[in-house]
């Protein structure tokens, strides 16, 4: 039991950081530009595919640098030639643009790499058990992921606190002309941030792609969960996103172990109803079954009762 708790703690930490890694670029874009970027997971996917392709030629490590840069450039181009002209029509239009983009990226990925998963695997040097604690391996790659995601956190933290980019963009969301008359290059900053956010997504893709599965539907798979992270964390708060990731990681990890259903609870009070239909389904469900959808429930409740999120300074 102790062993299990120990491992679940480690797992929840690792999973939480994976979530953070996936959502860090989105945190940047959403908190700064207010764009709900539905194509975020698509950029993530592109990162994975680029890394796969590059690793075919020159190996994993160069890909770790080149692939995110490529995705970043792509993101910047998307901002420059797409989003920028949509921006004036408001957030809904921006959001729909990214929805369309997600469609398109998925199709293009299929055109280039085919419909099946590509064998993008963990590099050999990291494919070993780093330590074996109490009979369970902790793979080197997971530790590597942990290190990178912490690196991403620090990087983002510095960008957000040490630079005025955040202020400029936040200001530009209400009065873009006002910001530019103060001497700031608003379009340039937007491009930079969107490109940067995409590059982060790309980096997450390089690292997550082989841990997960690199296939055309991976974007659609990961799409919603990243929103949960930033919403629960709170708009505009990197620390919030960080904490939310860990929290969601913990909720999901520990929920798996709780094999208690409502009927078990009732039985505790000596009640053993034997209903049929919907109620039966309801009583049957164990908390462990619901693990992966708990975040959505959490998000909805959070939005209803505390729309600022955990650490947010303003409402989403």
């Amino acid at each position: 039991m102790l062993e299990y708790i120990f491992f679940s703690t480690i797992n929840s930490l690792l999973y939480g950081m994976l979530l953070f890694m996936l959502s860090s670029g989105l945190t940047l874009i959403f908190s700064m530009m207010g764009i709900l970027n539905f194509a975020h997971a698509s950029f993530f996917m592109l990162g994975a595919y680029f890394a796969y392709q590059i690793s075919q030629f020159v190996g994993f490590w160069p890909g770790l640098v080149i692939a995110p840069l490529l995705v970043g450039v792509l993101g910047a181009l998307v901002e420059r030639y797409g989003l920028r002209s949509v921006h004036k029509h408001g957030h809904v239009a921006e959001l729909l643009f990214t929805v369309g983009l997600a469609y398109l990226i998925e199709e293009i990925v299929m055109l280039i790499w085919g419909r099946n998963a590509v064998p993008y695997q963990i590099p050999n040097i990291l494919d070993f058990a780093l330590v074996n604690i109490l009979g369970t391996d902790l793979s080197a790659y997971r530790v590597f992921m942990l290190v990178v995601s912490i690196g991403m956190f620090i990087f983002l933290f510095l960008v957000l606190t040490r630079s005025r980019i955040g202020l400029i963009i936040q200001a530009a969301l209400t009065h873009p002309d006002g910001v530019s008359t103060l001497g700031h290059n608003v379009p340039g900053v937007f491009m930079l941030v969107f490109g940067g956010g995409s590059a982060l997504a790309g980096l997450a893709g390089v690292i997550g792609g082989n841990y997960l599965i690199t296939e055309p539907s991976m974007a659609a798979h990961l799409g919603p969960i990243v929103f949960v992270v930033i919403v629960v964390g709170g708009m505009g708060s990197l620390t919030g996103a960080f904490i939310a990731s860990l929290l969601l990681g913990a909720i999901q990890t520990f929920a798996v172990g709780v094999q208690v259903s409502l009927s078990d609870l009732l039985a505790l009070f000596g009640l053993t109803p034997e209903p049929s239909g919907l109620l039966k389904d309801f009583l049957r469900i164990q908390i462990s079954h619901t693990g992966p959808i708990l975040p959505y429930l959490f998000m909805v409740l959070m939005l209803i009762f505390r729309p600022k999120g955990l650490m947010g300074k303003r409402e989403t």
Partner: protein, 397 residues
Amino acid sequence: AAETVKIGFLDPLSGPFANVGDAGYKHFKYAADMINAQGGDQRFEIVPFDSKLSVSESLIHLKNAIDQGIRFMTHGTGSNISGALIEAISKHNERNPDQQVLYLNYSAVDPALTNEGCSFWHFRFDSHSDMKLAAITDYIKDQKNIKKVYLINQDYVFGHAVRDASIAMLKAKRPDIEIAGDTLHPIGKVKDFSPYIAMIKASGADAVITGNFGSDMSLLVKAGKSAGLNVQYFTFYAGGIGSVPAIGEAGVGHVKQVTEWHNNLWFEENKPDDEKYFMGYNRKYGGEGKAPFFFLRIRTMMEMMDKAIKKAGSADAKNVAYALEGMTHKTPYGTVTMQASDHQLIQPLYISTLSNAGTKTVKYDVENTGFGWKTDKRIEADATAMPTTCKMEKPAR
């Protein structure tokens, strides 16, 4: 003059699941090519329809196909669609006796379709999930080193079915085996299976039975590898298209599947004809082995259809259905029978393990991964047959 029989192929041909439908379509085309190449005055044409994995669209395309004079529909992906197709076709055939249609199911494995939900107009050429599970448990029965089994399944009908049947069958065949754990998880939502692996590990299980498919399958195995979990995975879909590349090395020696075919069978059973057949496919449609031959049952089905239409003397759905009932057919790997009572094909099944390919015993790999399947056990056709609860209403001949 040659008479052309059109078979409507309905499966996802665009979007995220297009890989499955695409592979099925190519198999049908190839099987039709092969039959057509033999000459004779009966030719097959496969007409593709994109189901987009949506029930409503599938039903509209069914109408579309009927409009085009198609009387045989084949479909495999999505139990929801197969149920809807059976319903719709039964109603259609009743309401339009002059345009009756047959549904040839090549892949949907919900046992209900040939049990309480059976229909005269439906024929299944894949073994249903209980049959496959029976094969798995038959194999486990003889593995004395398996003491504890963990069940992990997706929380929906198919997952429930696998779980319930596993418990029942294990209890019957190996009462000494302990069900060390039994977990259901939402379908397609889990990104990291490590917590589940921790549970499996904590339970001390030495085997896992799972009906998971797609990423739920691959991610499970990968997470197990990364935590150093040492168990046997008994799966339905580890060999599914695209899964082996996704699982990768993590599955070697651990992952087993139950299928009617894999690409080293010909070698193990010395059937060079079959090699010629599927290598022909791989050359023509398999993208140099990237999307290789997979469905032996499609070949079986097309050959049986060919025979049945000839036997019925016309391509009329009802007559063909009667011709198919009880038909036996010789495949490279033995004789198969279409049971008249429930329209379920009875065919031999194989348990095989993912292994390093290119060795003496494991000749071919799958999807250029370097890993291929090696047979553990063959289960004879008769042994896979299961009792049915089907009460079929048959139209007058």
